[in-house]
Symmetry: C2
Subunit: 255 residues, 2 copies
């Protein structure tokens, strides 16, 4: 079997999320359906991150196994020709058999966009929030989360993981010239709903509902009920997934 890696952009607006479900339009199912047409094989794809309904991606990565000898350039052309226009494949390459888009990932980058004024044109791609936010305090919160710690307070219940340790290597809030606020966060892994819970809680800090000490206490509590509301999905973008050259070495013989 050949192992194929693809780089994917999608507008999450009209999807139930990345993952195939019994009903509804998922990114995974759309791509699998087209792969079935192109290769005449039943293909199952694995994504680097399972984005929720409404979440967008500029740099989602997936991999899948096929027998078909189709060239990567032809495969890319066929995928983009047959996929709906809210999914675009930016790269197709053949990779080592042990590579997994999900388990070989070293680092994932997300961005979250907040508009502090009403917007028609950007409405599908940001959270529109009309109360004043103190960016300095939100940046102080960034300093607190940028480390290795237990993030259970920002993980949706029943997520099925057995540990909540994540290493956040970078977390910043910036203002774009247009006035859009942008949260950038990089980590080795993210728990289910983590970025949206972090943004919702940091917004509570920025509007003065939580002190920095309370924000620290929320992390220490390891309890999702203590943190703020999840920010809405349509402000969130999966921007990039990084892999090391030997990232599949963790899975030697068994795969």
């Amino acid at each position: 079997m050949r192992n194929i890696k693809i780089d994917i952009e999608y507008d999450g607006t009209d999807f139930i999320g990345w993952q195939r479900q019994a009903t509804g339009r998922s990114v995974q199912a759309e791509i699998e359906t087209v792969l079935r047409t192109v290769t005449d094989e039943y293909v199952v794809i694995t994504g680097a991150g399972r984005t929720d309904a409404g979440v967008h991606a500029r740099g989602q990565v997936a991999n899948f196994k096929i027998e078909s000898p189709i060239g990567t350039i032809d495969l890319k052309r066929a995928l983009n020709g047959l996929l709906p226009d809210d999914i675009v494949i930016h790269g197709v390459e053949e990779v080592d058999d042990r590579f997994s888009a999900r388990y070989s990932a070293r680092e994932r980058t997300y961005r979250y966009f907040i508009s502090t004024k009403l917007t028609a044109i950007e409405r599908r791609f940001c959270w529109q929030l009309f109360y004043p936010l103190e960016l300095d305090r939100m940046r102080e919160a960034c300093g607190i989360i940028a480390r290795t710690t237990d993030f259970q307070s920002f993980c949706r219940a029943n997520s099925g993981v057995d540990n909540y340790l994540c290493t956040i290597s970078e977390a910043t809030w910036e203002i774009q010239p247009s006035g859009m606020l942008v949260f950038l966060v990089k980590a080795n892994r993210f728990l289910h709903g983590m970025v949206r819970a972090l943004v919702g809680t940091m917004v509570d800090v920025g509007r003065g509902y939580l002190t920095i000490q309370e924000f620290q206490d929320i992390i220490a509590a390891r309890d999702r009920k203590r943190a703020g509301m999840a920010a809405p999905p349509h402000g969130l973008f999966l921007e990039q997934v990084l892999y090391g050259d030997v990232s599949w070495e963790r899975f030697p013989a068994s795969n």
Copy 2:
């Protein structure tokens, strides 16, 4: 009667254009319907520019006359509360009775966006073009159009105007960090379909289908059939309309 000026942003994707027509969803009709609800008067609004179906606006301007004593802050709140989410009112102010959003305008600014790679997220807001474009040649064409001349070759037939003289005060092509090509153009007036015809013809220059000399000949011909195809509407944004402080002086007693 009070004369009210409003600043409008809209996502043109789902509109038949600015102007009210017998059937279909127009920006003008949506705003007029809401004004009828708010003021209980039949209000007719005049826009600075009649954008075509699919064209967006960040800075459209309109004005209308009402008897209602409603304050401008309340009116803005009521409009944004009742309008669909693809129209946003950014400003409401009471102006001199002689002010006309259309006839008092001194300068209009448009931007046109071209993506040279496939994109899902930006697909409603740019023209996706996959052949190489020589930006230097397109910039040379900018130098040729940035003046006062007859632009009939870039005006849709039967547009009902009696002269085609326009003064283009600025015309540039820039590349954004994302790779998006942006055409910026400012003029005292624009003819019907002019920006899209200019972009379509400049793209023909950029891909080597037309020489600069041929581009000059097209302008001199004063014949729409000589120019290139109109670029698609969804890459076009009406960005800004400027008015002088005494801009309504052109219309003294009669209005």
